[in-house]
């Protein structure tokens, strides 16, 4: 039974405000992105996406997202495992540290890596002697993205693993399963939906990250520009249509993520 205490005009007003807000701040911008992208028709749109620099940016973004998501998947599982399965000193400190990337500005996240691996940085001399480029090169972009996206997987896993407890694993081991077998047959299947959910959010953030990547990238066109950086450059150079064309891909990613997230949430409830 809906609550009928408010008179109809008040209800319509409240619903109207909410819908108008969503429309102006969420739907309209999204619509604008696609409208601008296709403002000169489909061929110029495809041409803009087929530009070598745009293609390089897309490739780099995919590479960075793939590397950082894989690393976060593995490290996130290990960290969640350690935190939920063992008692050790400094556990609460570790739990707090996991959230650090959420509370720190992405620009600082990028700067940290410049300070560590840049020419004047802590490891700068060491790296220069061996001719290894990290900052203003792909490894730096991956590192910065890794840092920014680290919490997504771990934070999905910890509450679930805490709630599920250790008993199914103990049961598996008492039935003669090896540690590895227990992990792949019991632990992993039990957290698979949460893991996928974390990966999805992690991926969306990895592809869209601007601030941290901007600091460490060096903006070398066709080499160290990810999609968000490429869009900024195009926009600053008044190539609006091309900028929105690339932006439309990111917007599409957001929509796909949203749908996948809704579907996953249904499965998550079942675990």
């Amino acid at each position: 039974m809906p609550l009928r205490s408010e008179p109809a005009p008040v209800r319509w007003l409240i619903v109207g405000i909410a819908v108008a807000f969503l429309g102006i701040f969420l739907v309209l911008p999204l619509f604008t992105v696609f409208q601008q992208a296709f403002s000169r028709g489909i061929w110029p749109y495809l041409e803009a996406l087929g530009d070598p620099d745009a293609l390089a940016a897309i490739r780099l973004t995919l590479l960075v997202a793939f590397s950082s998501v894989s690393a976060n998947l593995v490290v996130g599982l290990i960290a969640a495992w350690a935190i939920t399965r063992f008692e050790f000193r400094g556990k609460s400190v570790l739990m707090t540290l996991i959230d650090l990337p959420f509370s720190v500005s992405p620009v600082i996240a990028g700067l940290v890596f410049v300070l560590l691996f840049g020419a004047q940085g802590f490891f700068g001399a060491f790296l220069q002697e061996r001719d290894i480029a990290i900052v203003f090169a792909v490894p730096g972009i991956v590192l910065a993205t890794l840092f920014v996206t680290f919490p997504f997987v771990v934070r999905e896993l910890i509450p679930l693993m805490q709630e599920q407890g250790i008993q199914e694993e103990e049961a598996a081991i008492s039935l003669g399963a090896s540690g590895l077998h227990t992990f792949f047959r019991v632990t992993l299947p039990n957290v698979r939906w949460a893991l996928l959910y974390g990966v999805l959010l992690c991926n969306a953030r990895a592809m869209g990250e601007f601030g941290a990547v901007s600091v460490v990238s060096g903006h070398v066109r066709g080499e160290t520009n990810t999609m968000p950086l490429h869009i900024e450059i195009l926009y600053n150079e008044y190539h609006f249509m091309a900028a929105f064309a690339v932006a439309s891909l990111l917007a599409l990613l957001a929509l796909v993520t949203l749908v996948a997230k809704t579907v996953l949430e249904r499965y998550l409830g079942r675990d």
Binding site: E170, A171, A172, S174, L175, G176, A177, R185, P189
Partner: protein, 347 residues
């Protein structure tokens, strides 16, 4: 046979087990009975190999088990909350222990199927084979957990509060069923419980544990009729407990000698333990205690009367009297124990 020798376990400063000794004979059904936090589950987990003691040893048929992992000990463990694998069907749950075998011990698929079907028949749940754990009732889950543990043909079956999370009716059914099952397959079994009724009804021998120490080991009859310590007397069955003092073999209550045998208990403060049905109503003259009947209640073969004792501490005791007794509320009566136990109070 399983030997537990001098097992000690601490969690930080908390002493969960101190110097526990126990022999479990082959084919026996043993209950570890104690209040929560007494260390009984810790003992079970140490026998299983899910926990390790700080001191002492565990022997399986005379061989040190502490150097062996849970898997190598070949124990069937049934968890309080079942711990069924939630993403596997009932069939796959039971088959798990067979499928993880390696090398020469590995079974062919047909053999696995035959064995699992046999086990599901044993627990009378063959028709649930394709269901998932969350589609089963608590009692069904418990039986599947048991079938899963039996699949590896364990040398010993360890059950942690096997009926703890079931409602009263299912608990009673399952208890009878487990006893029948044990009579059929005779696997050495140890179960943990805080429910005395469960322990007394089911077990061949009961191990009473309190604060990490074994208070008594004996048949259900032993621990009920000849409790070794005041804890056992109070924990198992009902007891009337009265504070007394003992001096040179003379037992006094409220400063007055009451003519009971001190049963060899040393001088000092003690406690008199009587079962409610072992207290006889007698004339006030020459009675052990005198008191005022404040309340009579209860249906069935016996009535329960509450008696406020005539004493400084104003104790109230509950006594069972036959239905035919003519005691009425407001009456002053005398009480004398037919059977009793006296224990020294710890100083």
């Amino acid at each position: 046979m399983i030997g537990v020798h001098n097992v000690t376990k601490r969690f930080g400063t908390f002493s969960a087990l101190s110097g526990v000794n126990l022999e479990i004979r082959s084919g026996e059904l043993i209950a570890l009975l104690g209040p929560s936090g007494s260390g009984k589950t810790t003992l079970l987990r140490i026998i299983a190999g899910l926990d390790w003691p700080d001191d002492g040893e565990i022997l399986f048929d005379g061989v040190n088990a502490l150097t062996r992992s849970v898997a190598a000990r070949h124990v069937g463990f049934v968890f309080q909350h079942y711990a069924l694998f939630r993403h596997m069907t009932v069939f796959e749950n039971v088959a798990f222990g067979l499928r993880v075998r390696k090398g020469r011990q590995r079974l062919r698929e047909a053999e696995v199927r035959a064995r699992v079907t046999e086990l599901l028949d044993l627990v009378q749940l063959g028709w649930l084979a394709e269901r998932y754990p969350n589609q089963l009732s608590g009692g069904q889950r418990q039986r599947i957990a048991l079938a899963r543990a039996l699949a590896i043909e364990p040398r010993v079956l360890l059950l942690d509060e096997p009926f703890g999370s079931l409602d009263a009716k299912v608990r009673k059914e399952l208890r009878r069923w487990l006893r029948d099952l044990h009579q059929d397959i005779h696997v050495t079994s140890v179960f943990v419980t805080h429910d005395q009724e469960e322990a007394l009804e089911l077990a061949d021998r009961v191990v009473v544990i309190d604060k990490g120490r074994i208070e008594q080991i004996g048949t259900p009859r032993d621990v009920y009729e000849s409790p070794a310590t005041s804890f056992v007397h109070e924990f198992i069955g009902e007891s009337i407990v009265t504070p007394i003092t003992i001096e040179n073999g003379i037992v006094s209550y409220g400063g007055q000698p009451i003519g009971l045998d001190s049963q060899g208990v040393r001088n000092g403060k003690g406690a008199l333990f009587v079962r409610p049905y072992d207290m006889a109503v007698v004339p006030v003259d020459g009675a052990t205690f005198a008191g005022l009947v404040t309340r009579i209640h209860g249906l069935g073969p016996a009535r329960r009367i509450e008696v406020a004792l005539h004493s400084d501490d104003g104790g109230v005791v509950e006594v069972d009297v036959p239905r035919t007794s003519d005691v009425s509320a407001g009456q002053t009566i005398g009480l004398r124990p037919r059977q009793y136990r006296i224990f020294a109070l710890p100083t």
